[in-house]
């Protein structure tokens, strides 16, 4: 039925913090990503949601092989890609593409749109002929809803929404199976946001592509995703199907996030769970359950024993000691 495209297991990224002038001594680490597990299935969207500093963007960078991992594995189409080097890496590049938040900084300002879109194809190991590239560009432009002659223009001649379309076209160019969408709509105006979200959904329906969507905005993630993972301070605290998460959130943090999400009608204001304090720094984070200092359910055990990330049925994973209590609420 569903086919695993990307499987991330116990993914870790620690940035060492050093001291010393000539002889560097490690005095600790920033644990940006600290043991993350999730799976992206073919043709589906996996959404990662969390607040700033929770490690979701670092996770994306690791999957895109822009940073070396500290630990764990990233299996893509059954192969561990985390340790690829040289020509293997080069030939892997292209099969996972990305769209980033800022449509202004993600297009090289000094290149024509057609060159920008063609770049992933042109630099690939077996680049197709010029005419093939040309056809491909025309096809992609049409797919993302831009005029044919858009290719000859420079990025600055487009508005934010149009640029994001160009960025999507570029990401589609090498026919990737997975696109990492890092906050693809948060830089856009409200009226444009819907256009792009629709476009992304249409493309997925037509091409069967998988998305790894990263965003801080819960409604957006829920709208786009099949599965949603909630991240807090470098770890996943909960994974569930999009609607399941809305209806049966289990982890206290997920509950808080949902309660804080803005209503779409004044009458719909939920009971608010205001979390005390702020997200701690990932440098020497809290022991055991990282959420316990802000958690309204925290007990002694939370600061001593790390909770397991458990399946509580139907692919709903939660990392909390009090799952059963919480489910009742």
């Amino acid at each position: 039925m569903t086919e695993e495209l990307l499987a991330v297991r116990d993914l870790k990224k620690h940035f060492p913090v050093t001291k010393g002038i000539i002889f560097m001594k490690e005095i600790g680490a920033i644990k940006a990503v600290d043991g993350v597990n999730f799976t992206v299935n073919r043709g589906e969207t996996f959404g990662l949601v969390g607040e700033s500093g929770c490690g979701k963007t670092t996770t994306a960078k690791l999957i895109l092989l822009m940073e070396r991992i500290t630990g764990g594995t990233i299996h893509y189409k059954g192969r561990d890609i985390s340790l690829l080097r040289g020509s293997e890496l080069k030939s892997h590049r292209g099969s996972v593409q990305a769209v980033f938040q800022d449509p202004f900084s993600s297009l090289s300002p000094r290149m024509r749109v057609k060159d920008i879109i063609a770049e992933p194809i042109v630099v690939s190991v077996n680049a197709p002929s010029k005419t093939a590239v040309k056809e491909k560009i025309a096809e992609l432009l049409q797919l993302v809803g831009l005029r044919k002659d858009a290719g000859d223009l420079y990025p600055h001649e487009f508005s934010g929404g149009q640029r994001q379309r160009i960025a999507i076209a570029r990401a589609l160019a090498p026919d990737p199976d997975l696109i990492v969408l890092d906050e693809p709509v948060s830089g856009l105006d409200v009226s444009i946001r819907a256009q792009i979200m629709n476009l992304l959904r249409d493309i997925q329906d037509r091409l069967g592509i998988s998305y790894l969507l990263i965003a801080h905005d819960l409604p957006v993630v829920q709208h786009m995703s099949t599965w949603v993972g909630v991240m807090y301070l470098g770890t996943l605290v909960e994974i569930a199907g999009s609607e399941e998460l809305n209806e049966n959130p289990v982890h206290p943090y997920t509950k808080a996030l949902l309660s804080a999400a803005l209503p779409h009608h004044p009458a719909h204001i939920r009971e608010e769970i205001i979390l005390p304090g702020e997200v701690p720094t990932p440098f020497n984070p809290p022991e055991a359950c990282k959420f316990h200092p802000r958690c309204f359910r925290a007990r002694d055990i939370c600061s001593s024993v790390p909770p397991l990330f458990r399946d509580i049925g139907g692919g709903h994973f939660v990392a909390c000691h009090f799952i059963d209590d919480l489910r009742k609420i």
Binding site: S52, V190, Q195, P219, S225, S242, A261
Partner: protein
């Protein structure tokens, strides 16, 4: 619910004279703000909502930006006729403002204490222990833990949420009557956003503060505002009480914006999307500025700007559709 207006903006027009033409950033905006009321100004970026607020306190970026017309009545007199020195006495003491980005709103070289103290020194001529006491009080008010310590610290030592609270404490130090909050939570994380909005509301209740909240997010409006004005291309297209507006959005733009927002917890198939781009404010013609994107645009929409009419108690609208209906009735 008729309240005594504390601030009346009448036909405000603020233009920017650039080398590439005149930008009519605010073009005939009128509204009033009742005592203790929260007014939401909603619109997409570039619609003029921020500039209209900066116009109130006469801080339009010079020399390009010029307030070319209108009246801003506050306490019985027109702010636009006041001298610069008089305005200095009003700013911070009577009318204050919070900007979007707490990371840049504080002067990095001064301590928190100094910055919160500054308006008190200027307007209330406080000195020494009295000043310190007042600063401590303000920091307590905005929930800064251990204010005595924090006073001596610098902005970069604070997190974003804390900085925004400090900004709040700073601008409210002299107990102004009006607070303008320009996208006060946009750059904050969801959970912190919730904290801050609640704090603002609390302070408002205790001190009978009138607020204008500028935002692009209907969620914030739903959560925090009593009345809403929707702006498009430098003009208010619709204004109503919050519940009324959410229940009966009359302007096609308002309605479309609301429909284009993804709803939490639902994986809808498609969102409603407004086609096209917001207009270039330099090249507006005489018709309704939303007409080019409006699915229900009529002949007259392209020719003449619709007048503002009151269609319900406190619900005003500028749209030929409704005007037409009214006429037909």
């Amino acid at each position: 619910m008729k309240m005594k207006p504390i601030l009346e903006v009448k036909n405000l027009r603020t233009y920017f004279y650039t080398r590439r033409g005149v930008v009519k950033a605010v073009d005939g905006v009128s509204y009033e703000l009742g005592e203790g009321e929260t007014l939401g100004l909603v619109g997409e970026s570039g619609c003029g909502k921020s500039i209209s607020c900066f116009s109130i306190i006469r801080l339009v970026p010079a020399p390009a930006g010029v307030i070319v017309g209108g009246e801003i009545l506050f306490g019985g007199s027109d702010l636009l006729l006041k001298s610069e020195e008089e305005m200095d006495r009003i700013r911070g003491a009577e009318i204050s403002m919070i900007l979007q980005d707490p990371m840049t709103s504080l002067n990095p070289l001064f301590t928190i204490g100094d910055q919160v103290a500054e308006p008190l020194q200027i307007h209330q001529k406080l000195k020494g222990e009295g000043l310190r006491e007042k600063v401590r009080e303000m920091l307590n008010l905005v929930r800064i833990p251990s204010p005595e310590v924090r006073m001596k610290e610098y902005p970069h030592q604070m997190s974003g949420g804390m900085r925004q609270r400090i900004v709040g404490g700073m601008v409210l130090a002299c107990r102004p009557k009006i607070l303008i909050a320009d996208e006060p939570t946009t750059s904050l994380d969801v959970t912190i956003q919730a904290q801050f909005l609640r704090l603002l509301k609390e302070i408002q209740h205790t001190s009978n503060l009138s607020m204008i909240i500028v935002t692009h997010d209907f969620g914030i409006v739903a959560k925090a505002c009593d009345r809403v004005a929707v702006m498009y291309a430098g003009k208010i297209v619709e204004m109503a009480g919050t519940v009324e507006l959410f229940d009966n959005p009359e302007h096609p733009y308002t309605a479309a914006l609301m429909k284009s927002l993804p709803k939490a917890g639902m994986r809808q198939n498609r969102l409603y999307a407004i086609e096209g781009q917001p207009p270039d404010l330099r090249t507006l013609d005489s018709g309704c500025s939303f007409a080019p994107r409006c699915p229900r645009a009529m002949e007259i929409c392209r020719k003449e700007y619709p007048p503002r009419v009151e269609i319900n108690d406190g619900h005003t609208l500028s749209c030929w559709l409704r005007k037409g209906e009214v006429l037909n009735d």
